[in-house]
């Protein structure tokens, strides 16, 4: 199956969750690489806490009982749940039968690995019906895209009226005042080493 066709980094996902903070029982799922669950969960907690200006609960769960307990412990707080890859088929079926007891006011974000999510739609179809519109695959941010980079470089080249080679020549000779624009230009063309000695 295809899971999480939409890629997202933690801050944009936190902003999406904060945008819908007033909606009830929003369930989303962030699919993360093996071994990075704890780190990315902590990042989500920090970023969502800052955006919502309120505490965000975070628990790691490995059984249906633990999951139900924490989900119901505070029905209003935003909740991030790191679900163990060892969550068994029996646990998922148990959770699914109890879905109505999982209904909450606050948002719930599950953090799972791709291997663990694979069986979720068939093992817990009722829970999945809550989640399926909000499935994301984690992807780190890569900075400016090719078009944005090209736009900025075009703008810099036409403003200063010289090209990259001339830029590097002037920087190397020390004749150019290095302001933030020149700094940006050098970094965007992979010549940031010319800025200052690291």
């Amino acid at each position: 199956m295809t899971i999480g066709p939409l890629s997202v980094a933690t801050w944009p996902l936190a902003a999406r969750l904060a945008d819908v903070a007033a909606m009830t029982n929003v369930w989303q799922l962030l699919v993360v690489p093996e071994g990075r669950q704890a780190e990315l969960a902590a990042e989500m907690v920090n970023e969502l806490t800052a955006l919502l200006d309120r505490a965000v609960a975070h628990f790691a769960v490995d059984t249906a009982m633990a999951m139900e307990d924490v989900v119901r412990s505070d029905l209003d707080a935003p909740l991030i749940l790191t679900v163990s890859p060892d969550f068994s088929e029996v646990e998922w079926r148990t959770i699914d039968m109890a879905r109505t007891r999982l209904e909450r006011n606050g948002q719930t974000l599950l953090i799972m690995t791709a291997a663990a999510v694979g069986r979720l739609p068939s093992l817990a179809p009722n829970l999945w019906s809550w989640i399926s519109d909000g499935v994301w695959t984690y992807a780190p941010e890569g900075g400016l895209g090719a078009d944005e980079r090209a736009q900025r470089l075009d703008s810099l080249r036409s403003h200063f009226r010289f090209d990259d080679a001339e830029l590097m020549r002037r920087v190397a000779s020390g004749e150019l005042l290095i302001d933030a624009d020149i700094g940006e230009w050098l970094v965007l063309i992979g010549q940031g080493n010319l800025l200052v000695k690291s």
Binding site: G143, I178, L195
Partner: protein
């Protein structure tokens, strides 16, 4: 102006950040709160408007950019737009030496005011070190609506400049603007 330059540089604040992404988050969070408080009406997604880009060859250098770079100040390229239609954009150059913490090497933060406002724009510049520019210029200065004029300025933290532009650099009484 050499003494002024030295005093300004002596007052440079520490960034107090371990990773450049912390500054990215700090700035996006401040802008997100400004949107929520209806002080900022961005054109587009904040995560797209404010980005952190690493040098592909020198992993110690980064540039943190907000808004579209447009030296002509065409309002069609405004992205970080305040509720009073002033808009701003910025570039921050960062360095993280191996095993070290984040250093702000330089920045420019420009705010463009709605038509008829005087001055039409203001820009805080903090030029990068390592060239002879310190002999010719005050590294940290503000342009009061003219590229030809430079006033010495304190070195501010990037987040302080964001907060200045979002919240503070506004008429004291919008109904009775002074000339």
């Amino acid at each position: 102006m050499k003494d002024v330059q030295q005093r300004i540089l002596a007052g440079a604040p520490e960034a107090n950040l371990q990773r450049p992404s912390e500054l990215l988050v700090q700035i996006r969070n401040a802008l997100y709160r400004a949107v929520r408080d209806e002080r900022l009406v961005p054109k587009g997604d904040l995560a797209q408007i404010v980005q952190l880009t690493q040098d592909r060859n020198d992993p110690t250098k980064f540039v943190l950019t907000g808004g579209i770079k447009d030296f002509r100040r065409d309002e069609a390229n405004a992205r970080l737009i305040r509720d009073d239609l002033a808009w701003f954009h910025f570039t921050i150059t960062l360095q993280v030496p191996p095993g070290g913490s984040v250093e702000v090497l330089g920045y420019d933060f420009e705010i463009v005011f709605p038509r008829s406002h005087q001055p039409p724009w203001i820009r805080f510049d903090y030029n990068l070190p390592g060239t002879d520019n310190e002999a010719r210029n005050i590294r940290s200065h503000v342009h009061p609506g003219s590229d030809d004029l430079q006033l010495p300025a304190p070195i501010l933290r990037p987040i302080e400049l964001v907060e200045l532009y979002v919240n503070h650099l506004r008429p004291r009484d919008p109904e009775k603007q002074r000339r």
